[in-house]
Point group: C2
Chain length 408, copies 2
Amino acid sequence: MTEPFPYIQGGVVAAKGFQAAGEHLGIRKNRSRKDVALIVSDVRCAAACCYTLNLVQGAPLAVTKAHVADGYAQAIICNSGNANTCNANGVEIAEGMSALVQQYTGIAADDVVVASTGVIGQEMTLIPFISGMAGLAAALRLGGGHDAAEAIMTTDTVAKEVAVAFTLGGKTCHIGGISKGSGMIHPNMATMLCFLTTDAAISPVCLQTALSAVVKDTFNMLSIDGDTSTNDMVTVLANGQAGNAEITEEGAAYATFKAALRQVCGELCRVMAKDGEGASKLLTCTVTGAKDKQTAKLVAKSVICSMLFKAAVFGADANWGRVLCAIGYSGAAIDVSKIDVQFISRVGTISVCTGGSGIPFDEDAAKKVLSEDEIDVAVQLNAGDEQAIAWGCDLTYDYVKINGDYRT
Amino acid sequence: MTEPFPYIQGGVVAAKGFQAAGEHLGIRKNRSRKDVALIVSDVRCAAACCYTLNLVQGAPLAVTKAHVADGYAQAIICNSGNANTCNANGVEIAEGMSALVQQYTGIAADDVVVASTGVIGQEMTLIPFISGMAGLAAALRLGGGHDAAEAIMTTDTVAKEVAVAFTLGGKTCHIGGISKGSGMIHPNMATMLCFLTTDAAISPVCLQTALSAVVKDTFNMLSIDGDTSTNDMVTVLANGQAGNAEITEEGAAYATFKAALRQVCGELCRVMAKDGEGASKLLTCTVTGAKDKQTAKLVAKSVICSMLFKAAVFGADANWGRVLCAIGYSGAAIDVSKIDVQFISRVGTISVCTGGSGIPFDEDAAKKVLSEDEIDVAVQLNAGDEQAIAWGCDLTYDYVKINGDYRT
């Protein structure tokens, strides 16, 4: 899990030729909350998307799929406060949002990626967009990434922005992105909402291949609550402004691009998990020694999804039996008698299980390790060389509080 | 979901020829908590079991599998306070428990069903059994079912006992049982712990066939927290004392027996779900109009497993979008545009979704319906005639509290 590329500022507008804005247009009642983000490129971009596999899908996803079917897009519009899902007029709303982007930016409506997040099944109208789009378009600026990141937040407590710089054929390139959590997160082939931009030149086909591969190792290994959302989507726009030779096939340049994309997505997973609804702790599970990648992933994800273990982590209780239990029902074919488990945080490492059986450990020291705000469960399967990481968080009173009364 | 058989008292000793006891032997530190249950039949019984599919399995399951391999058993011993799982000497302990039953009851050790429940991976010794088995055996009595039910409780707040009477060929028969919840419950081909007895005469093969079928529709449709336990087991002993002609093939008598068994298991699911860890409400999902049984089951179980919807039920929030979301990721191939959803409790029915889209409803009335302690989500798929029910509970602060500090 090396991170070879330097992090930079700018988030979704770190790459050359992108501008963004985020404002309160009135979808939310609370006027202090931004609720619409707009991201545009100076030029048309290769575009790739991954979508939720939930059969109930937001209307914006259907519209976006049609708009990027040709492999190109130039703008992203996203509102929070309403998911525009299970509404009779959902497609009409999403198409209307795109038409308004065209009216005020000149970008063709069918080059607009549309997304919505918020309550499912709540009536929605175009009125806030009609009255506010002119102002939103006027607010577009090179430094607008943070405003856009804020505008897509729902129960998130922090805006999520990551960007890195890398080099392709002597040209400096950038990939940056913003994302939103923080509940209904258990991605399946895609994720909550994540908008990525890059100035690297890459063909639509290569961009989609890289994104699909990276999503499998990053967003699909993230879970807050086991609920796969209806509106999950990750989009990347590549405008080629870095001046590198366009990547059109797998090779060294493709590998570098994919590694940078993976780093950005992995870091977004980390910050999203840490800000999971009600979370007080980031919980990661690092599985090593697996006979194959799929086994490593199944085990890692099962551990970070266990409600019982998540609650134990909240209580700083070294209840490793729940880790073994979650490994056992993960669906992976593992040899239980070979499993070693350690709990790791910045203050130390505690070995709790060797060869599938418990070993004596210092309960006070374990409590100290588990009282930190970033906990890794290291699972060694001793059966091969493959590994995987999954990101999650603890289960807290606040998760229940937030979700017991989200709508009202 | 008709319940044609009358409920009777007696639980696991309602059937003729069974005695039970439950006492504190010292596995738990708290002397006021019973921790070992013993159930015996006057004569050898046909026996059937279903076990957890978790790859991490308690040692008692391995021992029980060997003991009932011939289709017969005569006693059940079960302790709470320690799962006897992930212990190096687990099999030795479970065999020792069986040997002690033989020593004090005369029942052959290899006719003993052994079970344990409690913390995983905690050292265990035979000493409490060695010192206490004589007293436990002496306490066996016809009215001892409630003591046994109490002795297998962990975080349960109420003892769980159900029994019914039915008739086979003019002979009155009985099936009764006890079970324990109340966390780490998401059965997969078996369940937490459930011990059933009957005085009906039925062959081991027919008994296993009936049990396996009933478990699929009952315990496998129950979930408290999505965590499949390492120690799940359901066992039924049939001693033939009712005097009916032995059931040796499928037919009218088999159908009656299976219906009675299903009723007992279904009712145990209901009481277990209602007493789920931290639960304040029983949550059931009744799916009708499915094109096939599997679709109905997938949808029902997905709804009652959704953490987000469970939290909404706790908050009496009619957030039906989360029901649609859970249906969408259930894995079932459904037509979203045909789905109707209603919330039902003893004070009324609220329709919230028709044809996959929201419909206006009275929020105050919905709050009243959802403030009751038994909530049914009725999902009509309008695609066929199959149906299913799943049992669960709400997600509360107390679930987090109980599981944040279970060991210590």
